[in-house]
Symmetry: none
Subunit: 184 residues, 4 copies
DNA sequence: CTCTAATCGAGACGGTACGTCGCGTCTTACG
DNA sequence: CGTAAGACGCGACGTACCGTCTCGATTAGAG
């Protein structure tokens, strides 16, 4: 199960997928392309993943999972600003991967974030919004913001994006309808 | 150009597309299905649209365009709350169409909204956010919010959604970074 | 039926067909091409001929018929050499038409010749061969010989072709199995 | 290259083509029909032949080639009568194949015979006719004669056809213009 | 260090949808 | 009010990928 060849093949396929996503959207990536680019036989692809969606899922779960683990502890510490910063800093450090994911397959990233977000929010909801809606909107804004950021010719520093994120997602969510403004 | 048969064929195709989007995502809709469902010959489809994306584009442009025309005047009147309400009310009145569009092809709706939004904002930007980013985030939130709304088993009234929209999109956009909170 | 427009349309179509046959085989000629080339509406074509085969049939019947009428009397006069010469001379005088027909649609020419040949032979069989076979072989040789002739870069004179025709078709047909040789 | 599956698929397609040619002309045979009839996937057809013409070519080359190999040695032995007999006997033994080929696609058989005939005649021309013309006429007569033979309700014996062939093709070709008759 | 079993490549195959082409019919807008 | 223009349904074409399947050939890791 931990055969070296298996690990090598899968890593190669994941790598090949990320490289392809930099140049074209996921739907236009072909299993045959992936196999060829990663030096793996076409048939062999299916020995590892039942479909190209499964491969993308694998990649997305790994990357989004890491991002989540990096951000959540800080968020739990009630410091939303620091959490946003941690998130943006992490993405900044893995620019190429996240550029590929967000430009080539934003829907899948969103999907995976939603999954994790829903799990997480079940115990930490602090918003006046319907719980699920909060997650949906938060994830949408994160994905769009990061996507926008990563494709800017002269991207603003992570700190600035983090602040936008904090102001646009966290504050509205935590300000009750009757209040005069967000509580920092 | 105004041949009755042409109008009939196109209307049929648009209708068929909307019906299909209610039951499955756009990628799984087949041109053959569309042709069959609308009683139009398969080849005839291509006499009207070069691809199913073009058909979807036609539908999206029409619907999003109407929504936009309905909302913008109110928004220009500086009354963001009324604009949000107008938008939600319009969608509410065209529930089935918007359910289809948002559940089956949210990406295309987003795309078209972005297009119109970018045109519109060029002359009326009132946000502290980078202009394009404001549109991107606003559109994302609108699409997600409407999508969430329309698939709720017991959907809240339009007024409530409109208020959420106003609080989540308009307020953060208009509250300058230094301010203590949104200005009502 | 004798409306001038009708005659003009049909003549134009026949002419267009002959011109097309000079550059490509009949199967590759399109009704749309014919209509366009002869300045006739596509739909109009069908008012005159039910199919392109019918048009070709019309042309073939006319041309082969004329050839036949030209040749037969001489043949009936028992002078096979003169008949062959008449045939070749006629074709020589209508080179372009026959080149087109024989290079573009030899099968149809053969068909029509067979039809006329079978009619004619019913009353004048002078061959030891089974009657129908004689016609079949004779027609085949005529068609091939003329086809060969018309596509030679430096075509031999008609007289020479006529002699070949006489020697190859008429003589073997008229020499009974037991005879020592053809009777001139 | 010698994969058993390949051989099976091709043999099936050739067989299916021959069966279809018995009931309708080649132009009316559809690749889809061939694939279905031979139990081969439609797409698979193109993995073996670029077009139905290529498949017919394969069949024609094989059959005409065998006929040629069977006939030529005898012909080279200067015994034209025996060669004709060999040819007719061979066709007689492969009646169904040749009936199919000659009734459904005579043009292609003719084409292939021409090719082989031209190769062969280059070294053994014994005719007073222009070399190429001799082949053209000879092939035409052979094709027509065999075609006629195979579709007779009560076909004459091969020997009789062979004699006709000899008298109609070989004799005229070998009798010089000035001679009084064929030399037996 | 060897042997056995898992992994791999190669590629034939049956499918499904695509988008194109030409046919022949039928409708319609226009002169 | 007829007629050309052309929209239409149809069916075959040839292409691109998909996912399945059988082959051997290699190669890792357990014994």
């Amino acid at each position: 199960m931990t055969d070296a060849r298996i690990l090598r093949s899968r890593a190669g396929l994941r790598q090949a997928l990320l490289e392809m996503l930099e140049s074209r959207p996921f739907e236009q990536v072909t299993i045959r392309d992936l196999a060829a680019a990663s030096g793996v036989g076409y048939t062999t692809f299916f020995r590892h993943y039942p479909s190209k969606e499964a491969l993308l899922g694998d990649v997305a779960v790994r990357e989004v999972g890491q991002l989540h683990e990096m951000t959540l502890p800080v968020y739990d510490a009630q410091d939303s600003a620091a959490a946003c910063l941690a998130l943006c800093a992490y993405v900044d450090q893995h620019r190429s991967v996240w550029t590929a994911l967000l430009s080539g397959a934003p829907g899948y990233v969103r999907e995976e974030m939603l999954r994790l977000g829903r799990e997480a929010v079940a115990v930490r909801s602090r918003s006046w919004l319907p719980q699920d809606l909060g997650v949906v909107l938060g994830v949408a804004v994160i994905v769009e913001l990061l996507g926008w950021w990563l494709q800017q010719p002269n991207p603003p520093p992570a700190a600035q994006i983090a602040e936008i994120l904090d102001r646009v997602v966290i504050s509205p969510a935590q300000t009750p309808p009757g209040a005069a403004g967000p509580t920092p």
